[in-house]
């Protein structure tokens, strides 16, 4: 398995984004109940590996950060999920 999937937070981020076209940063932060710094570092790692896209849009007050899973991210996550399913079936 890819070392991206070694972290529980990264797996959760991909799981959440898998069923979405896109979502806002705060939505993930709220759903995963983690800290801002922790989430941001994992998002940056996923972006570096081309699993997700992070786009920032300026607003009147602050910046809106929108996150989207890439085709590569979707494919890899599907493979990971299939592997996980296979492993769970093999368990006695």
């Amino acid at each position: 398995m890819d070392n991206i999937f070694n972290s529980e937070v990264r797996v959760k981020i991909l799981a959440l984004l898998y069923g979405m076209e896109y979502c806002e940063y705060n939505y993930i932060l709220k759903k995963l109940d983690t800290t801002h710094g922790n989430l941001w570092s994992h998002l940056k790692k996923l972006e570096k590996e081309d699993y997700i896209e992070i786009n920032k849009y300026p607003l009147k007050k602050g910046v809106r950060t929108v996150i989207k899973i890439t085709n590569k991210g979707s494919k890899k996550f599907r493979e990971y999920l299939n592997e996980l399913m296979e492993l769970s079936k093999k368990k006695p």
């Binding site: 898998y18 979405m20 076209e21």
Partner: protein
């Protein structure tokens, strides 16, 4: 991490929506629809002729436009696949409302409100099921069951429809769901 937890997160992603935004938009659209139905009731019962027909047509088109704009505006911050599917379902639902309204209008005009109410109720219930929303499921069922009362009091069908829409609008504003 358990597979079950992972599956729940995937499902959460599929049902993801911007609840705060949706609540406001739903209140506005249901409130406006209720007002439109009250006006239709007045026109239907107290005016007659081509002018009334024209008014009803314009108001129904307006109602459809509100629904389309509502759907387009939804999920700006969080746009899940269910949002995408629902947009398509609503488009087909609107076609169904328009076509069946035309058919019913020529065959049995007094049942127009009953048809609009039941189809609109079905659309709302489907959305409630997809996004696990109690208010939308309840609102949809309320609309569907209110059509039975509409059949008994045919002259007041649009008034009943307006009252039910107003109840749904208030329920959306009350923020019962988390």
């Amino acid at each position: 991490m358990e597979i079950k937890e992972l599956m729940n997160l995937i499902l959460d992603g599929y049902c993801g929506e911007d609840k705060k935004y949706k609540r406001i938009v739903y209140f506005i659209s249901n409130f406006t629809s209720a007002i439109v139905f009250f006006i239709i009731h007045l026109i239907y019962n107290y005016y007659s002729g081509i002018v009334a027909l024209m008014f009803i047509s314009i108001l129904i088109i307006l109602l459809g436009a509100i629904l389309i704009i509502r759907r387009r505006k939804l999920g700006i911050d969080t746009y899940s696949y269910f949002n995408k599917f629902m947009s398509e379902i609503v488009c087909y639902g609107l076609v169904c409302i328009v076509i069946s309204s035309i058919s019913v209008f020529f065959i049995y005009p007094s049942l127009l409100g009953v048809f609009i109410g039941s189809i609109y109720g079905l659309l709302m219930t489907v959305e409630g099921v997809l996004f696990k929303s109690f208010i939308r499921k309840f609102g949809g069922l309320l609309l569907i069951f209110s059509t039975l009362i509409m059949i008994i009091y045919l002259d007041y069908q649009f008034l009943i429809l307006g009252i039910v829409q107003m109840i749904i609008a208030i329920l959306n504003l009350l923020n019962i769901e988390k």
